[in-house]
Structure formats: C-alpha cells, structure tokens
C-alpha cells in the first residue's frame, strides 16, 4: 500500500499540472503524454551521465516547461486549436524524447558496476522504499507544490489566469494578455508534469519512451475524483483534492490488481472508463440534477460543475432568487 501511495504522490504533481490547464485555463492540453517522458528522459540521461540528481530532476522540470512553451506558442501565435496544438507537440516530442534518451530507454540502477546516483539512492540504501518515511517525504513535496499553486492562483497574475479560463472576453477587456497567461500557465503545468516524470523515472529505476502514454487520463481521473471528494467550492480544497484524487486513484488500481479484479495491463482501460463515467455524470441532466440536489442540500451555495468547465459552460445554477433578467440575451 505504501508503494501505491508513493506513486500517487509522485503522479500528484502531474495531476496538479493537469488541474491548471484543464480546470483553470479551460485548455485541453494533451502535451502531458509527451512532456512527462521528456522530463523523465532528460533527468535520466543526465543522471546516467553522472549529473547531480537534484540538478537532473530540475532539468526534467525545465524540459517539461519547454514542451509547454511549444504548445503555448502553437496555440497563441499560430492560432492552432488547443487540442490540436497539444497533440502536435505530444507527437513531435516522441521523436525528441528518443533523441534525448538516445534510445527507447535509459536504466538508472547500475552503470559499469557503479550505482547511478538518483534522489532515491539514500532511501534505497536505507531500505526505505515503500515505507512511511518515503511516503512522508513525497507527501511533503506534493503539499509544498499544492501550497505554491494555491498561493499562485490568489496573486494578481493568478487571478488573471483564472479569468482567462473563466471568461476570456472579460479578461481581455480587463487588460489581461490572455496569450501571455496561457503560455505561462502551460509552462508551469508541463513543468510540473516534467518534474513528475523526472521523479517517477528515478522511482522506477528507468526512463522509457512509452512512460507517458495515456497519462493525461490519469491526470484527469485524479482531478475529477479529487474534486468529487473535496469539492470545488474553495480553491484551496480543489487543489488539495487533486493530490488526494491521485492517491485514491492509485490505491483503487493497486487493490484492483491485488484482488485480481484487474491485471496491470488494464490500468489504461480503467482510467479511460473512470473519465468516461465522470463525464457522463456531468453531461447527463438527470444525474446532474441528483448531484445538484445533494450538494445544494449540503451547502447554501450552488453546486459546482463536477467536471471540465467546457463541458458545463452554463453558469452555475443554484438557489438564486428567480430573476427573469438573468436570462441570456435580449
């Protein structure tokens, strides 16, 4: 179980990145599948060649951010639709990742009879992998980034970023360069994804060109599960929920495998199904009505849409006084 929680905490960084694009920026960013590997591959090849593990990990973050920059530029400068822009980056990165790693994978255990130094080496030597100590360390890292994101979103720039995703017309009228907020947020997001990849490569002891495939769904599932648990009424809880969601998601998977409900290879299918179910819930009027009633009875404020902003673009409906003037248009 500790191992599953450790994985969940490492993937929480990826999920936080997905949260920033998907929820805050309202930008369906598939760069993730590529930038995770870019981060992992960059960190791995550096450490394989003897670079300081912390420096290598940081390089993974930077490489992920660079991938986010590419998607940002494709979208803002060339006006390519978000989905397509990020698919282009993701596909292009596959080749780049092969070049970075000089092959399909990089091992991080031994080289010429010497142990390759990674950030986990001290923990491995102390036989503390899959222990509560390691869980505590990784939790501290995930919570530090959670706190940083909560802080960021409350700054003037963070509010501008939120407005960019929430109401671009208002953002522009308010003097916000939505191109700039998008580029910066995509860089932060994919930086986190790259960092997640860098840490995960060291955790599993190798980087592989396939390691990022399908992770966008893992990120989405974590965001959706986490937000369902902790709600989206308070930003701090919404962000924290992403970390919780990532851990819960990993635990579900590990129990499904341990109890032989599913095999390791089924993980991607489970992610896909989980996201489908969550999206169906958010799109189906009847189910949303139930969910709405349940949350409305819990809180005086209106329910938040359960999933992606673009899938529930209508304004929050809630127990506001009936007001004919709130009807859209004249």
């Amino acid at each position: 179980m500790e191992a599953a929680i450790e994985q969940g905490l490492i993937f929480a960084l990826l999920a936080l990145g997905v949260f920033l694009t998907y929820r805050i920026l309202n930008f369906a960013d598939l760069t993730v599948d590529g930038s995770f590997t870019t981060g992992g591959g960059t960190a791995a090849i550096l450490m394989y060649n003897g670079v300081d593990p912390y420096l290598g990990t940081l390089a993974g973050l930077a490489a992920g951010a660079a991938a986010g920059l590419i998607t940002g530029l494709l979208h803002t400068k060339l006006r390519i639709d978000p989905l397509l822009a990020s698919i282009l980056t993701m596909i292009g990165l596959y080749s780049i990742n092969l070049r970075i790693m000089r092959g399909p994978n990089v091992g991080l255990n031994m080289r010429d009879g010497q142990v390759i130094e990674t950030i986990f080496t001290p923990l491995k030597q102390a036989k503390l992998m899959a222990s509560w100590q390691t869980v505590a360390i990784l939790a501290a890292v995930a919570l530090a980034f959670t706190a940083a994101i909560i802080w960021f979103l409350a700054t003037n720039f963070g509010l501008a970023t939120q407005a960019t995703g929430d109401n671009p017309q208002m953002a522009v009228a308010g003097g916000i360069s939505t191109d700039w907020t998008k580029i910066v947020t995509l860089m932060i997001s994919n930086g986190l994804v790259g960092l997640s990849g860098a840490i995960y490569a060291q955790f599993q002891g190798f980087a592989d060109v396939q390691m990022g495939i399908g992770l966008i769904l893992v990120g989405l599932a974590s965001v959706i599960v986490g937000n369902a648990i902790l709600g989206t009424r308070y930003m701090a809880l919404a962000v924290l929920g992403v970390v919780v969601g990532s851990v819960v998601y990993r635990l579900i998977l590990s129990y499904a495998i341990a109890w032989e409900i599913a095999a390791a290879g089924d993980m991607k299918l489970i992610s896909a199904l989980l996201v489908v179910v969550a999206l169906v819930i958010s799109q189906n009027e009847t189910i949303r009505g139930w969910v709405g009633k349940i949350s409305a009875s819990k809180s005086p404020e209106a329910p938040e849409p359960l999933t992606a902003p673009e899938l529930s673009a209508q304004p929050a409906e809630g127990p506001t006084p009936l007001d004919p003037s709130s009807a859209k248009g004249a």
Binding site: F152, N156, L159, V172, G175, G318, T320
Partner: protein
C-alpha cells in the same frame, strides 16, 4: 479626448456576404462628454464600440484616445484607457471568481499583474466601500462567486468594475437591454450617477430613445454604418422621441421600426 477620423470597417470584404459596418466615421468627444448612441439593428453601433475598444481592427482611419493613437493597439493594451460594459450580463465578469476577485481584476486593469496578493485587507475594505454605493447589499457578499448573482446584480457589478478605477473612457453597449424594466432602470440610474460623479467621458448605446434623449449631453444616431444625426445638449432638450422617429422614417424611406420605441 476621443477622436475617430475616417474610420471604416467592412466584414467579409469582396465576398457575397460583404457588410460595411462602419463607413467613414468622424467623431470627436470632449473630456466629460456623455454621448448616447441610437440606431436600428445592424446600424454598426456595437462595431463602433468594438473598434474603439480594439476587439475589432479598423480597415481605415485612426482612433486617438487622450492624444494617444491606439489604432493598432490590441484590446488588452487599450484597457488602461477605457473600460466597457457589455449587453450580456455574463460577459463583463468572471463567474467562478468571487466578487472581490473580480474587483481586483478590474482594479489592476491596464497595470502590470505580478505576484502580489490579489485581494489583501486594504483592497477588501476599499471594495466594500465601493460596493456600498450600489445599495444592493453586495458589500456583505465579497466572497460570493459572481456566477451566483442575478443578471441585474452582475450588470451593476460590471458597471462598478468598469467605473471605479476612473478609466479615461467608458463604453456601454446596451448594458441594460437584457434586464427587466425595474433592474434596467436601476442600472441606468447608477450609470448616470457614476458618470456624473466621476466626470467620465462615456459612449452609451441604447435602444431606448427616451433614455437616449434624457441621459447624457450628446446624442448620435447611426444608420447603415454612418452617423446620420448628431445632437448637442441644447438640441437634445428640444428634441422629442417623435422627432427621432420621424428622422428614422425619412432616412430609411419607409415606416419606422416600431420596436425601436420600447
């Protein structure tokens, strides 16, 4: 203060769908002028405001605000000079952000946004004071998400957000049209009050001719992309809704659109 010299805008030029939305517009507003703009649907009123704000580019002509040629400036870089309220009450605010967060965005309009705290204690108490002026009780709901407000409340907030930072120019595009009569009246009153108190220069599009005559010190009538009538304060006082209707009728050479008399 605001000057448009020979501004034109054509949509889909050279195609079967070509629409000449603005034809050689010349307009001069002095500091403190409050001009109302009327005209039938499709006359080009919104397009006029959109080219001034920069959300649409011009084909020809120049736009100068405060001695600054903004013709080529993108919309977000003009925001330090002007503020807008749109017809759609949803358009001017960010629904998932709270009232105070929306106001913080308005407060930093046109300024560099860094990593300072968006809503600190000082700002919060200033926002509370500003909201009290609306008399809608919003000052006690600073942490309410704007998506929870009614259309009228949202529009009043949009108006406050547009005006409390004292922009050089205020652009209002039928900002009461989507509201029921009582709330429309409330927002109109607020508009008049805000513009008078802060001596803003403003352009207000309205479909209500009586209001266009009553409010402001100038009136512009548009038709098919042109300003076909300009009244100053004295002329406005002598003009009646019937006069304006006659004017419409004659220029269109057909029966006036009765719906304009709402």
């Amino acid at each position: 203060m605001l000057s448009l010299t020979g501004v034109s805008k054509t949509f889909f030029p050279g195609t079967a769908n070509e629409r000449r939305a603005l034809r050689n517009i010349w307009l001069e507003l002095a500091e403190g002028d409050f001009a109302t703009v009327i005209g039938s649907n499709g006359a080009g009123k919104s397009t006029l405001l959109n080219v001034i704000a920069g959300s649409l580019s011009t084909d020809d002509g120049a736009i100068v605000i405060d001695d600054r040629d903004v013709t080529k400036l993108p919309a977000h870089r003009r925001a330090g000079l002007l503020a807008r309220v749109f017809q759609d009450p949803q358009a001017g605010t960010s629904p998932h952000l709270t009232i105070e967060q929306n106001m913080a965005i308005a407060l930093t309009r046109g300024a560099r946004r860094g990593l300072g705290v968006g809503v600190g204690r000082k700002r919060r108490s200033a926002f509370r004071e500003e909201l009290e002026v609306l008399g809608l009780g919003l000052e006690s709901r600073l942490k309410t998400r704007v998506g929870m407000l009614s259309g009228g409340q949202r529009q009043a907030l949009s108006l406050l957000m547009a005006s409390f930072t004292h922009p050089r120019l205020l652009l209002l595009d039928e900002h009461t049209a989507a509201l029921d009569p009582a709330r429309a009246e409330l927002v109109t009153e607020l508009t008049v009050k805000v513009v008078a108190e802060t001596n803003l220069t403003a352009l207000m599009v309205t479909h209500n001719m009586a209001q266009a005559l009553r409010v402001g010190n100038r009136l512009l009538m548009m038709h098919e992309g042109e300003i076909i009538l300009e009244l100053d304060a004295a002329q406005k006082r002598r003009t009646t809704v019937a006069d304006l209707m006659d004017r419409f009728t004659s220029v269109r050479g057909q029966l006036a659109d009765r719906s304009l008399l709402s």
